[in-house]
């Protein structure tokens, strides 16, 4: 279980050139907006195509420019939670979750829906539309939908950034629970040092399309290798 990424991509004059590897852990891609974090997630998920490089997820080669391999996003089986959650507004909560049941039989889907509804505390809102549920409930529905196929990894693009602080803390605890229950590698994009510190097993610090430093949060916060990293994690001196 894990994910390894070694990609180059040029978009509108911005160059992303990163290489990193994670195991079965919760990795945080940390950096300011415009550092290339979301772009990295899109390249991993196959929503955009790298110019060159390699993406490997749990032993499956998703992209390899040398061998001309480029699996479409449908075949990569990676859960993706978007910053705006992207729940389908015309489908009920139940329909949204079951939309993620591609390749799962009807009876198995039914069983799993009951299990997920219980696990994610959304039993009572299954017939509601996304516009009729609260922010925290939307988050849980988005996670349930992304995890329904039991993906090989979970990609999270700042899903908590729009929440107020108490709910953000609640969702951080929720994410730890998800990671424990599903035992799946998670990549969380964030620009919030507090969130990174609270959640990360490993931090990958981005700046301007490059990886500045990787390591345990304690290593990053206690001994930043460059002034740039020191500034990014918010410890003054810039």
């Amino acid at each position: 279980m894990g994910l390894s990424v070694d990609i180059k991509k040029q978009v509108n004059g911005f160059l992303l050139d990163v290489s990193w590897e994670i195991g079965n852990e919760l990795a945080v891609l940390f950096g300011y907006s415009g550092a290339g974090k979301t772009l990295t997630l899109k390249l991993i998920a196959g929503l955009m195509k790298p110019d060159r490089g390699l993406v490997e997820s749990s032993g499956i080669v998703c992209f390899d420019s040398q061998r001309n391999i480029d699996l479409p996003p449908q075949m990569r089986c990676l859960g993706y939670v978007f910053q705006d959650l992207s729940l389908f507004p015309h489908m009920s909560v139940r329909e949204n979750i079951l939309y993620g049941a591609k390749g799962i039989s009807k009876s198995e889907g039914k069983c799993r829906l009951a299990e997920f509804a219980d696990k994610f505390h959304i039993q009572d809102i299954q017939d509601r539309m996304p516009a009729e549920i609260s922010g925290g409930q939307k988050q849980r529905v988005a996670f349930a939908r992304a995890l329904f196929r039991r993906p090989a990894a979970l990609l999270l693009d700042e899903p908590f950034s729009a929440l107020d602080r108490p709910l953000r803390l609640e969702m951080q605890a929720f994410l730890k629970g998800v990671r424990r229950d599903f035992d799946v590698p998670v990549i969380l994009v964030t620009h919030d040092p507090g969130e990174a510190r609270a959640l990360a097993d490993r931090m990958i610090v981005y700046s301007d399309g490059k990886v500045m430093q990787t390591g345990k949060p304690s290593e990053i916060f206690d001994s930043p290798q460059t002034d740039e990293v020191k500034r990014l994690v918010g410890m003054g001196s810039s």
């Binding site: 899109k42 998920a45 196959g46 929503l47 479409p72 996003p73 449908q74 075949m75 990569r76 089986c77 990676l78 859960g79 993706y80 978007f82 705006d84 992207s86 389908f88 507004p89 015309h90 939309y99 993620g100 591609k102 390749g103 539309m129 516009a131 939908r145 992304a146 329904f148 196929r149």
Partner: protein
């Protein structure tokens, strides 16, 4: 009246099926000549209907480059039948359908489409279950507008379907004949009827395009 409704209804069915497919390709496709195709399909919106009718004669007339083969094969020509009125209405109403539908499809949030892909759903499933349902109000508004436009089609219809009483004299054409013959009373009745219907359709089109989820 009955003929007008029949022509407009049949034309609208074709407009919706072909218009949605074309609008989808124009909105989401990426191929050479895409904008050129858009221009060609939109031309009937701005060209005088007589010019559109002229092109249709060149294409579908007994000696037209398509009509010729149909005539050689079957001995039948579409000219001066009510099918020709359908064809004329179809061609002039199609741009309205394509314009509104394309705009509606393009306004669907890209993240929703990406979300569908990451959930393992193919392009076709995504189109049918996410993109088209979310573009529904644009599609309905386009269909209503197209129907109204088809009801009012005159120029191209006169060119290729003519003015055969009981066969191709749709309401706009009947109004022309009646007015030309000095029967202002009957013409006026039809004018009021068509105006009312067009008003209702415009109201419906506005109503549907405003409804949100």
């Amino acid at each position: 009246m009955r003929l007008s409704l029949q022509v407009a209804a049949v034309a609208t069915i074709f407009v919706v099926v072909i218009g949605v497919a074309a609008a989808y390709l124009l909105a989401r496709g990426n191929f050479r000549g895409k904008e050129a195709l858009d221009v060609i399909l939109t031309l009937p919106l701005v060209l005088p209907p007589t010019v559109t009718g002229y092109y249709l004669i060149i294409a579908f007339g007994r000696n037209g480059f398509i009509g010729k083969y149909i005539y050689d094969l079957t001995g039948w020509t579409i000219m001066f039948t009510w099918y020709a009125a359908v064809l004329a209405s179809f061609v002039v109403a199609l741009p309205l359908m394509i314009k509104t539908t394309r705009a509606a499809i393009e306004s669907v949030d890209n993240n929703l489409i990406d979300a569908s892909y990451t959930l393992g759903r193919s392009r076709f499933e995504t189109a049918v279950r996410v993109i088209l349902p979310l573009a529904k109000k644009g599609i309905v508004a386009g269909a209503v507008l197209s129907f109204a436009r088809a009801m009012g089609e005159f120029g191209a219809t006169l060119m290729i379907a003519g003015n055969l009483p009981g066969k191709t004299d749709t309401m706009p054409i009947a109004i022309y004949s009646l007015a030309a013959g000095g029967d202002w009373e009957q013409a006026g009745g039809m004018v009021i009827l068509l105006t009312l219907m067009a008003g209702v359709f415009l109201y419906l089109a506005n109503h549907y395009s405003k409804r949100v989820f």
